[in-house]
């Protein structure tokens, strides 16, 4: 018997429940999902490599576990895919680059892949991204742009654009991305799905290709908060191999989803977060807040300067990481970032340290706000997805570069490592609009709790894009 929804749009939990109960063969479901990827991926260019034989082997192992009467885990038979900066044993970790094709293949999986596998999930392949995660658009000159499933002439957002597009298009119900300045939240918003950027240091980043050590986070995408929470819970836990990964024990968020918002103090971010977004986007966020009964506003002090400091830290650490290759083979870098990386190699150390000191100051000031409120809501992006190739955009009458500024509203938050759930809260001219649910460090439970309330109220929901019909599960 197949899942009730077509292979691509079945929820992760729905698939796992049926596999665990023996009503759905993991192998059959994975075969259908592979066929769906083959049929749909050319239209959006989310997958770079499909790990078909591995997926079938993992699915067979899940089926064998069920046949033996053992529980394969809460994500049994659930297909997932990863941004191609995660190590996958036997594959080169491309990180969206041409240069990394010269590296040897990874010898083991990233710990997040290991943990998802251990919970029964099945790896389907690796996904497109901005080169070395330096971008918000996934316009990758080496591998082609990833296209937004809601309008294939538009960007999917980035840098985890392949991850968001794959989930939005129904190719997989779960995907992993990374977020240094907004690279989970921006594509989640532009593709109309849920994403979680956990607290800095919550999930281990080892065996993933780094970008900016001070700001790098990893996290999941899904089409529902329940799926997102299940994947997140499966991946939690310390890992001493990542020096910033916290030794905190697993703090499951699944049970929090049903708690509602009683007792929570929620505010809307005003000031910078409204003046930096198009008024049409702000109106949708305000409407969502009204539906939640949120009337209070807060202002994050010096948010524009915080964003500027995140920009400097990114520029300095990101270019220093690539300095050897910039010296030897600069022209092999993505043309859209080559000159930026080259310029960034010359930035004074004093700028970097001032930015890091401002980070400490900003963190302290924002933590004072969390003495007054538990949750802050803000737009995720200044506008909806731009057209592929569009270099500039206009926000409230101000012309600006599109690619670096799509993260205007996400950068101040990841700058101090706060956990954020990205939720899809509406459509504007057929394109998704997203909202950030921001909480104090280590309170992912509150982020997802509010996201679940929004979803229950149908304020937040994923709208399936109008792609060719996906292939159905075998019956």
């Amino acid at each position: 018997m197949g899942a009730q929804n077509p292979a691509g749009f079945a929820s992760a939990l729905e698939v796992a429940a049926q596999v665990r109960a023996g009503r759905l063969s993991a192998t059959d479901h994975i075969r259908a999902s592979l066929a769906n990827i083959r049929a749909q991926n050319p239209a959006i260019n989310a997958f770079i490599e499909v790990t078909e034989s591995r997926a079938l082997a993992e699915a067979a192992a899940v089926d064998a576990t069920v046949a033996e009467g053992r529980d394969p885990g809460p994500l049994a038979g659930v297909p997932f895919a990863v941004k191609n900066l995660y190590d996958v044993a036997g594959l080169r970790t491309l990180a969206g680059s041409k240069i990394n094709r010269d590296l040897p293949a990874a010898t083991s999986d990233s710990p997040l892949i290991e943990r998802l596998n251990a919970n029964g999930a099945v790896l389907m392949g690796t996904l497109n991204m901005d080169e070395y995660a330096y971008g918000f658009s996934t316009e990758n000159s080496h591998y082609g742009p990833t296209r937004n499933p809601h309008d294939r002439e538009r960007i999917a957002g980035g840098s985890s654009g392949g991850s968001a597009a794959a989930v939005a298009a129904g190719l997989v119900p779960l995907a992993l991305g990374s977020d240094t300045n907004g690279s989970i939240r921006v594509p989640a918003a532009l593709c109309g799905i849920f994403g979680l950027k956990p607290t800095y240091g919550r999930l281990p980043r080892n065996r993933s290709f780094p970008f900016v050590a001070s700001l790098d986070h990893v996290g999941p995408f899904a089409r529902s908060t329940a799926d997102l929470a299940c994947a997140y819970d499966a991946m939690q836990g310390p890992d001493p191999a990542d020096p910033v990964c916290s030794p905190r024990p697993v703090e499951p968020v699944g049970p929090a989803l049903a708690l509602g918002m009683q007792g929570l103090r929620i505010a809307r971010a005003a000031g910078y977060f409204e003046t930096s977004a198009d008024e049409t986007v702000v109106a949708i966020v305000r409407r969502a807040c009204e539906q939640l009964g949120v009337t209070r506003t807060v202002e994050l002090p010096e948010a524009a300067r915080a964003r500027a400091a995140a920009f400097l830290i990114t520029a300095t650490e990101g270019s220093q990481l690539h300095l050897p290759n910039l010296r030897k083979r600069a022209d092999d870098f993505e043309p859209l970032i080559r000159d930026r990386l080259l310029a960034n190699t010359m930035l004074p150390g004093a700028w970097y340290l001032q930015a890091q000191r401002l980070r400490g100051w900003f963190h302290r000031e924002v933590m004072k706000l969390f003495e007054q409120v538990d949750v802050i809501l803000a737009p995720t992006t200044p506008r909806t997805a731009t057209r592929i190739g569009e270099a500039t955009m206009r926000i409230n009458g101000v012309e600006m570069l599109a690619r670096p500024n799509m993260g205007l509203l996400t950068q101040p938050i990841s700058f101090i490592g706060l956990p954020v759930a990205a939720v899809p809260i509406g459509m504007l001219n057929g394109l998704p609009v997203g909202m950030q649910v921001i909480c104090a460090p280590w309170r992912e439970d509150l982020c997802l709790r509010v996201a679940a309330v929004l979803e229950t109220m149908r304020v937040a929901q994923c709208i399936a894009p109008a792609l060719p019909p996906p292939i159905k599960d075998p019956q």
């Binding site: 240091g201 600069a330 100051w361």
Partner: protein, 62 residues
């Protein structure tokens, strides 16, 4: 660094001296444009007065 001071000669010499990079002619205009933009952004960070006790991140206790 004032953004108006950044010209081709400056950029070529700075890249060689500070980063060990020999810029090509094709790279120079984009590097100048990016340095000017970053200098403008840096100015907003650098003008902010911090106290001597404001230490660099990491910024929260586990």
């Amino acid at each position: 660094m004032h953004s108006e001071d950044i010209d081709e000669d400056f950029v070529r010499r700075a890249a060689a001296l500070l980063a060990g990079i020999e810029l090509t002619a094709a790279q120079v205009p984009g590097v100048i444009e990016n340095l000017r933009r970053t200098a403008t952004i840096a100015a907003t960070v650098n003008e902010f007065r911090l106290d001597v006790v404001d230490e660099p991140g990491p910024v929260w206790r586990l």
